[in-house]
Point group: C2
Chain length 192, copies 2
Protein backbone atom coordinates (compact mmCIF):
# COMPACT_ATOMS: atom_id res chain seq x y z
CA UNK A 1 0.00 0.00 0.00
CA UNK A 2 1.70 3.19 -1.15
CA UNK A 3 1.93 6.53 0.66
CA UNK A 4 -0.96 8.06 -1.32
CA UNK A 5 -3.60 5.53 -0.27
CA UNK A 6 -5.70 6.74 2.66
CA UNK A 7 -8.82 5.33 4.34
CA UNK A 8 -12.25 6.76 3.45
CA UNK A 9 -15.00 6.90 6.09
CA UNK A 10 -17.41 4.02 5.41
CA UNK A 11 -20.45 6.33 5.45
CA UNK A 12 -18.86 8.37 2.65
CA UNK A 13 -17.68 5.39 0.64
CA UNK A 14 -20.78 5.57 -1.62
CA UNK A 15 -19.19 8.66 -3.16
CA UNK A 16 -16.47 6.48 -4.65
CA UNK A 17 -19.12 4.85 -6.90
CA UNK A 18 -21.80 7.53 -7.04
CA UNK A 19 -20.77 8.85 -10.46
CA UNK A 20 -21.20 5.40 -12.02
CA UNK A 21 -17.68 4.36 -12.97
CA UNK A 22 -16.84 1.02 -14.52
CA UNK A 23 -15.20 -1.02 -11.75
CA UNK A 24 -12.73 -3.86 -11.33
CA UNK A 25 -14.02 -6.71 -9.18
CA UNK A 26 -11.50 -8.94 -7.48
CA UNK A 27 -11.78 -12.08 -5.42
CA UNK A 28 -9.55 -14.76 -3.94
CA UNK A 29 -10.08 -18.31 -2.71
CA UNK A 30 -7.85 -21.30 -2.11
CA UNK A 31 -4.78 -19.49 -3.34
CA UNK A 32 -6.42 -18.37 -6.61
CA UNK A 33 -6.77 -14.64 -7.29
CA UNK A 34 -8.82 -13.11 -10.08
CA UNK A 35 -9.93 -9.71 -11.32
CA UNK A 36 -12.69 -8.86 -13.79
CA UNK A 37 -14.29 -5.71 -15.14
CA UNK A 38 -17.93 -4.80 -14.42
CA UNK A 39 -20.02 -1.89 -15.68
CA UNK A 40 -23.13 -2.88 -13.75
CA UNK A 41 -22.43 -1.85 -10.19
CA UNK A 42 -23.73 0.81 -7.84
CA UNK A 43 -24.07 1.88 -4.24
CA UNK A 44 -27.06 0.48 -2.36
CA UNK A 45 -27.03 2.01 1.12
CA UNK A 46 -25.26 4.59 3.27
CA UNK A 47 -25.16 3.06 6.77
CA UNK A 48 -24.11 0.35 6.82
CA UNK A 49 -22.55 1.07 3.47
CA UNK A 50 -23.62 -1.45 0.83
CA UNK A 51 -22.90 -1.97 -2.84
CA UNK A 52 -24.12 -4.25 -5.62
CA UNK A 53 -22.42 -5.69 -8.68
CA UNK A 54 -23.64 -7.98 -11.47
CA UNK A 55 -21.38 -11.00 -12.04
CA UNK A 56 -22.23 -13.38 -14.87
CA UNK A 57 -22.30 -17.12 -14.15
CA UNK A 58 -19.52 -17.67 -16.70
CA UNK A 59 -16.98 -15.74 -14.63
CA UNK A 60 -14.33 -17.30 -12.44
CA UNK A 61 -14.36 -14.26 -10.15
CA UNK A 62 -17.97 -15.05 -9.25
CA UNK A 63 -17.00 -18.58 -8.21
CA UNK A 64 -14.18 -17.27 -6.02
CA UNK A 65 -16.49 -14.75 -4.35
CA UNK A 66 -19.20 -17.36 -3.71
CA UNK A 67 -16.60 -19.52 -1.98
CA UNK A 68 -14.76 -16.83 -0.02
CA UNK A 69 -17.69 -14.57 0.87
CA UNK A 70 -15.63 -11.45 0.21
CA UNK A 71 -14.78 -9.23 -2.76
CA UNK A 72 -13.19 -5.91 -3.63
CA UNK A 73 -14.59 -3.23 -5.95
CA UNK A 74 -12.03 -0.75 -7.22
CA UNK A 75 -12.20 2.24 -9.52
CA UNK A 76 -9.76 2.03 -12.44
CA UNK A 77 -8.30 5.10 -14.11
CA UNK A 78 -7.65 6.43 -17.60
CA UNK A 79 -4.05 5.23 -17.19
CA UNK A 80 -5.53 1.72 -16.87
CA UNK A 81 -7.77 1.93 -19.95
CA UNK A 82 -6.31 -1.05 -21.83
CA UNK A 83 -5.97 -3.08 -18.61
CA UNK A 84 -9.61 -2.43 -17.75
CA UNK A 85 -10.71 -3.63 -21.17
CA UNK A 86 -8.42 -6.68 -21.13
CA UNK A 87 -9.58 -7.79 -17.67
CA UNK A 88 -13.16 -7.82 -18.98
CA UNK A 89 -12.38 -9.65 -22.19
CA UNK A 90 -10.70 -12.89 -21.09
CA UNK A 91 -11.69 -15.42 -18.44
CA UNK A 92 -9.51 -17.31 -16.00
CA UNK A 93 -11.60 -20.37 -16.90
CA UNK A 94 -10.24 -20.44 -20.45
CA UNK A 95 -7.04 -18.43 -19.99
CA UNK A 96 -5.08 -19.65 -16.94
CA UNK A 97 -2.44 -16.95 -17.54
CA UNK A 98 -5.03 -14.17 -17.66
CA UNK A 99 -3.59 -12.05 -14.86
CA UNK A 100 0.01 -12.36 -16.03
CA UNK A 101 -0.96 -11.53 -19.61
CA UNK A 102 -2.86 -8.39 -18.64
CA UNK A 103 0.02 -7.23 -16.46
CA UNK A 104 -2.28 -6.43 -13.54
CA UNK A 105 -0.39 -5.84 -10.29
CA UNK A 106 -2.00 -6.85 -7.00
CA UNK A 107 -1.39 -5.80 -3.42
CA UNK A 108 -2.79 -6.70 -0.03
CA UNK A 109 -4.21 -4.74 2.88
CA UNK A 110 -3.90 -6.23 6.34
CA UNK A 111 -7.16 -7.54 7.74
CA UNK A 112 -8.85 -7.77 4.33
CA UNK A 113 -9.03 -10.68 1.89
CA UNK A 114 -8.33 -8.75 -1.31
CA UNK A 115 -6.67 -8.91 -3.71
CA UNK A 116 -6.43 -5.17 -4.40
CA UNK A 117 -5.40 -3.82 -7.81
CA UNK A 118 -2.50 -1.39 -7.89
CA UNK A 119 -2.92 1.92 -9.67
CA UNK A 120 -6.66 2.31 -9.11
CA UNK A 121 -8.07 5.49 -7.55
CA UNK A 122 -10.34 3.85 -4.94
CA UNK A 123 -10.97 0.48 -3.29
CA UNK A 124 -13.96 -0.94 -1.40
CA UNK A 125 -13.44 -4.15 0.56
CA UNK A 126 -16.78 -5.97 0.84
CA UNK A 127 -18.29 -8.83 2.81
CA UNK A 128 -20.80 -10.72 0.64
CA UNK A 129 -24.37 -10.59 1.92
CA UNK A 130 -25.52 -13.98 0.69
CA UNK A 131 -28.79 -13.68 -1.22
CA UNK A 132 -29.38 -16.82 -3.30
CA UNK A 133 -32.36 -15.39 -5.20
CA UNK A 134 -30.53 -12.26 -6.33
CA UNK A 135 -27.41 -14.23 -7.19
CA UNK A 136 -29.28 -16.87 -9.22
CA UNK A 137 -32.06 -14.82 -10.83
CA UNK A 138 -30.22 -11.57 -11.44
CA UNK A 139 -26.49 -12.46 -11.13
CA UNK A 140 -26.54 -9.72 -8.51
CA UNK A 141 -24.08 -9.76 -5.62
CA UNK A 142 -24.62 -7.46 -2.66
CA UNK A 143 -21.86 -6.60 -0.24
CA UNK A 144 -21.39 -4.64 2.93
CA UNK A 145 -18.44 -2.30 2.66
CA UNK A 146 -16.05 -3.13 5.51
CA UNK A 147 -13.12 -1.02 4.35
CA UNK A 148 -12.65 1.85 1.88
CA UNK A 149 -9.59 3.67 0.63
CA UNK A 150 -8.77 6.21 -2.05
CA UNK A 151 -5.72 7.80 -3.63
CA UNK A 152 -5.31 11.18 -1.98
CA UNK A 153 -4.04 12.66 -5.25
CA UNK A 154 -7.59 12.46 -6.72
CA UNK A 155 -9.97 11.98 -3.75
CA UNK A 156 -9.53 14.72 -1.16
CA UNK A 157 -11.51 15.64 1.97
CA UNK A 158 -14.27 13.20 1.08
CA UNK A 159 -14.69 14.42 -2.52
CA UNK A 160 -13.35 13.52 -5.95
CA UNK A 161 -11.02 16.18 -7.38
CA UNK A 162 -10.84 15.01 -10.99
CA UNK A 163 -10.85 18.61 -12.21
CA UNK A 164 -7.67 19.53 -10.34
CA UNK A 165 -5.77 16.22 -10.61
CA UNK A 166 -3.64 14.48 -13.22
CA UNK A 167 -6.05 13.57 -16.09
CA UNK A 168 -4.69 10.01 -15.92
CA UNK A 169 -6.68 9.63 -12.65
CA UNK A 170 -10.08 10.20 -14.33
CA UNK A 171 -12.56 7.35 -13.98
CA UNK A 172 -13.67 5.17 -16.91
CA UNK A 173 -17.27 4.71 -18.05
CA UNK A 174 -17.76 1.82 -20.47
CA UNK A 175 -20.37 1.71 -23.23
CA UNK A 176 -19.75 -1.23 -25.59
CA UNK A 177 -17.35 -2.43 -28.29
CA UNK A 178 -14.22 -1.06 -26.64
CA UNK A 179 -15.71 2.44 -26.32
CA UNK A 180 -15.17 4.17 -22.99
CA UNK A 181 -15.69 7.71 -21.79
CA UNK A 182 -13.58 9.41 -19.15
CA UNK A 183 -15.32 11.45 -16.48
CA UNK A 184 -15.39 15.11 -17.51
CA UNK A 185 -16.07 18.64 -16.37
CA UNK A 186 -17.02 19.52 -12.79
CA UNK A 187 -20.41 21.24 -12.48
CA UNK A 188 -21.84 22.89 -9.36
CA UNK A 189 -25.52 23.75 -8.95
CA UNK A 190 -26.94 26.76 -7.18
CA UNK A 191 -28.02 25.74 -3.69
CA UNK A 192 -30.61 27.68 -1.73
Amino acid sequence: MNEFIAPVELEKSYRLLNHGPTVLVSGSHGGVDNVMTAAWSCALDFTPSKVMVVLDKITKTRELIEKSGTFVLQVPTVAQLQLTYDLGRSSLFTEPEKLAKTGVQLFSIEGHDGPFVEGCSAWLSCRLINEPHNQQAHDMFIGEVIGAWADTRVFKNGHWAFESSDPDFRSLHYIAGGNFYAIGESLQVERE
Copy 2:
Protein backbone atom coordinates in the same frame (compact mmCIF):
# COMPACT_ATOMS: atom_id res chain seq x y z
CA MET B 1 -42.57 13.43 -28.78
CA ASN B 2 -40.35 15.61 -30.96
CA GLU B 3 -38.75 14.75 -34.30
CA PHE B 4 -35.38 13.89 -32.72
CA ILE B 5 -36.66 11.08 -30.49
CA ALA B 6 -36.18 7.63 -32.02
CA PRO B 7 -36.68 4.11 -30.65
CA VAL B 8 -33.66 2.12 -29.40
CA GLU B 9 -33.60 -1.67 -29.79
CA LEU B 10 -34.39 -3.19 -26.38
CA GLU B 11 -31.33 -5.45 -26.47
CA LYS B 12 -29.15 -2.34 -26.85
CA SER B 13 -30.99 -0.25 -24.27
CA TYR B 14 -28.44 -1.17 -21.57
CA ARG B 15 -26.04 1.17 -23.39
CA LEU B 16 -28.19 4.12 -22.36
CA LEU B 17 -27.22 3.47 -18.71
CA ASN B 18 -23.92 1.62 -19.08
CA HIS B 19 -21.76 4.68 -18.37
CA GLY B 20 -23.45 5.21 -15.01
CA PRO B 21 -25.37 8.46 -15.44
CA THR B 22 -27.54 9.97 -12.74
CA VAL B 23 -31.13 9.36 -13.87
CA LEU B 24 -34.57 10.86 -13.46
CA VAL B 25 -37.21 8.38 -12.30
CA SER B 26 -40.83 9.11 -13.09
CA GLY B 27 -44.10 7.45 -12.18
CA SER B 28 -47.79 8.08 -12.39
CA HIS B 29 -50.87 6.74 -10.59
CA GLY B 30 -54.42 7.94 -10.08
CA GLY B 31 -53.80 11.16 -11.97
CA VAL B 32 -50.68 12.05 -9.95
CA ASP B 33 -47.35 12.38 -11.76
CA ASN B 34 -43.97 12.67 -10.10
CA VAL B 35 -40.29 12.75 -11.03
CA MET B 36 -37.26 12.29 -8.79
CA THR B 37 -33.51 12.05 -9.24
CA ALA B 38 -31.56 8.84 -8.54
CA ALA B 39 -27.83 8.18 -8.66
CA TRP B 40 -28.12 4.51 -7.70
CA SER B 41 -29.32 2.80 -10.85
CA CYS B 42 -27.83 0.40 -13.37
CA ALA B 43 -28.58 -2.14 -16.07
CA LEU B 44 -29.21 -5.69 -14.87
CA ASP B 45 -29.71 -7.85 -17.96
CA PHE B 46 -29.53 -7.78 -21.76
CA THR B 47 -32.41 -10.02 -22.93
CA PRO B 48 -34.95 -9.37 -21.69
CA SER B 49 -33.50 -5.98 -20.90
CA LYS B 50 -33.72 -5.19 -17.17
CA VAL B 51 -32.68 -2.30 -14.96
CA MET B 52 -32.57 -1.54 -11.25
CA VAL B 53 -32.98 1.68 -9.29
CA VAL B 54 -32.87 2.46 -5.57
CA LEU B 55 -35.91 4.43 -4.34
CA ASP B 56 -36.01 5.51 -0.71
CA LYS B 57 -39.18 4.83 1.30
CA ILE B 58 -39.62 8.57 1.88
CA THR B 59 -40.24 9.27 -1.82
CA LYS B 60 -43.65 9.82 -3.40
CA THR B 61 -42.38 8.44 -6.72
CA ARG B 62 -41.82 5.07 -5.03
CA GLU B 63 -45.43 5.00 -3.84
CA LEU B 64 -46.71 5.79 -7.33
CA ILE B 65 -44.55 3.04 -8.87
CA GLU B 66 -45.66 0.47 -6.29
CA LYS B 67 -49.28 1.25 -7.17
CA SER B 68 -48.96 1.49 -10.95
CA GLY B 69 -46.36 -1.23 -11.55
CA THR B 70 -44.56 0.89 -14.14
CA PHE B 71 -41.84 3.54 -14.18
CA VAL B 72 -39.59 5.46 -16.55
CA LEU B 73 -35.83 5.99 -16.22
CA GLN B 74 -34.46 8.86 -18.27
CA VAL B 75 -31.01 10.35 -18.73
CA PRO B 76 -30.86 14.09 -17.99
CA THR B 77 -28.38 16.40 -19.66
CA VAL B 78 -26.00 19.20 -18.72
CA ALA B 79 -28.69 21.64 -19.89
CA GLN B 80 -30.87 20.14 -17.11
CA LEU B 81 -28.27 20.44 -14.33
CA GLN B 82 -30.29 22.63 -11.99
CA LEU B 83 -33.53 20.75 -12.78
CA THR B 84 -31.83 17.43 -11.98
CA TYR B 85 -30.65 18.76 -8.64
CA ASP B 86 -34.00 20.36 -7.79
CA LEU B 87 -35.97 17.18 -8.60
CA GLY B 88 -33.81 15.30 -6.12
CA ARG B 89 -34.04 17.89 -3.37
CA SER B 90 -37.77 18.35 -2.75
CA SER B 91 -40.52 15.77 -2.25
CA LEU B 92 -44.08 15.80 -3.53
CA PHE B 93 -45.08 14.65 -0.03
CA THR B 94 -44.05 17.98 1.50
CA GLU B 95 -44.13 20.22 -1.59
CA PRO B 96 -47.38 19.69 -3.57
CA GLU B 97 -46.19 22.19 -6.19
CA LYS B 98 -42.86 20.41 -6.67
CA LEU B 99 -43.19 19.79 -10.40
CA ALA B 100 -44.45 23.27 -11.20
CA LYS B 101 -41.71 24.88 -9.12
CA THR B 102 -38.93 22.93 -10.82
CA GLY B 103 -40.33 23.78 -14.24
CA VAL B 104 -40.08 20.18 -15.44
CA GLN B 105 -42.01 19.55 -18.66
CA LEU B 106 -43.63 16.15 -19.22
CA PHE B 107 -44.80 14.36 -22.35
CA SER B 108 -46.46 11.05 -23.13
CA ILE B 109 -45.70 8.16 -25.47
CA GLU B 110 -48.63 6.12 -26.75
CA GLY B 111 -48.85 2.67 -25.21
CA HIS B 112 -46.67 3.57 -22.20
CA ASP B 113 -47.66 4.90 -18.78
CA GLY B 114 -45.01 7.58 -18.43
CA PRO B 115 -44.71 10.38 -17.67
CA PHE B 116 -41.63 11.15 -19.77
CA VAL B 117 -39.43 14.19 -19.07
CA GLU B 118 -38.82 16.57 -21.97
CA GLY B 119 -35.26 17.52 -22.82
CA CYS B 120 -33.58 14.32 -21.65
CA SER B 121 -31.28 12.35 -23.95
CA ALA B 122 -32.76 8.88 -23.41
CA TRP B 123 -35.84 7.20 -21.92
CA LEU B 124 -36.50 3.65 -20.72
CA SER B 125 -40.11 2.64 -20.08
CA CYS B 126 -40.17 -0.16 -17.51
CA ARG B 127 -42.61 -2.70 -16.12
CA LEU B 128 -41.94 -3.29 -12.42
CA ILE B 129 -40.88 -6.85 -11.59
CA ASN B 130 -42.37 -7.06 -8.13
CA GLU B 131 -39.80 -8.33 -5.62
CA PRO B 132 -40.95 -7.56 -2.07
CA HIS B 133 -37.65 -8.56 -0.42
CA ASN B 134 -35.53 -6.29 -2.64
CA GLN B 135 -38.01 -3.44 -2.32
CA GLN B 136 -38.23 -3.68 1.48
CA ALA B 137 -34.70 -4.67 2.44
CA HIS B 138 -32.73 -2.73 -0.16
CA ASP B 139 -35.20 -0.13 -1.53
CA MET B 140 -34.31 -1.74 -4.86
CA PHE B 141 -36.80 -1.73 -7.72
CA ILE B 142 -36.21 -3.97 -10.73
CA GLY B 143 -37.91 -3.37 -14.03
CA GLU B 144 -38.12 -4.99 -17.44
CA VAL B 145 -37.50 -2.45 -20.18
CA ILE B 146 -40.53 -2.50 -22.48
CA GLY B 147 -39.65 0.57 -24.54
CA ALA B 148 -36.50 2.63 -25.12
CA TRP B 149 -35.86 5.85 -27.00
CA ALA B 150 -33.01 8.32 -27.40
CA ASP B 151 -32.38 11.73 -28.91
CA THR B 152 -30.75 11.11 -32.28
CA ARG B 153 -28.64 14.25 -31.87
CA VAL B 154 -26.55 12.49 -29.18
CA PHE B 155 -27.27 8.73 -29.53
CA LYS B 156 -26.60 7.50 -33.06
CA ASN B 157 -26.49 4.02 -34.59
CA GLY B 158 -26.72 2.38 -31.19
CA HIS B 159 -23.92 4.44 -29.60
CA TRP B 160 -23.57 7.62 -27.61
CA ALA B 161 -21.88 10.43 -29.56
CA PHE B 162 -21.15 12.85 -26.72
CA GLU B 163 -17.82 13.78 -28.30
CA SER B 164 -19.41 15.06 -31.52
CA SER B 165 -22.65 16.54 -30.12
CA ASP B 166 -23.68 19.78 -28.44
CA PRO B 167 -21.96 19.74 -24.99
CA ASP B 168 -25.35 20.51 -23.43
CA PHE B 169 -26.32 16.88 -24.21
CA ARG B 170 -23.59 15.40 -21.97
CA SER B 171 -24.84 13.15 -19.17
CA LEU B 172 -24.63 14.10 -15.48
CA HIS B 173 -22.88 12.07 -12.79
CA TYR B 174 -23.71 13.13 -9.24
CA ILE B 175 -21.35 12.92 -6.28
CA ALA B 176 -22.76 14.80 -3.26
CA GLY B 177 -23.47 18.31 -1.99
CA GLY B 178 -24.57 19.69 -5.36
CA ASN B 179 -21.39 18.49 -7.09
CA PHE B 180 -21.86 16.82 -10.46
CA TYR B 181 -19.50 15.80 -13.22
CA ALA B 182 -20.37 15.80 -16.91
CA ILE B 183 -19.31 12.82 -19.00
CA GLY B 184 -16.02 13.59 -20.73
CA GLU B 185 -13.56 12.47 -23.34
CA SER B 186 -14.16 9.48 -25.61
CA LEU B 187 -11.50 6.77 -25.31
CA GLN B 188 -11.08 3.74 -27.56
CA VAL B 189 -9.02 0.69 -26.63
CA GLU B 190 -6.93 -1.42 -28.95
CA ARG B 191 -8.89 -4.53 -29.87
CA GLU B 192 -7.18 -7.68 -31.08
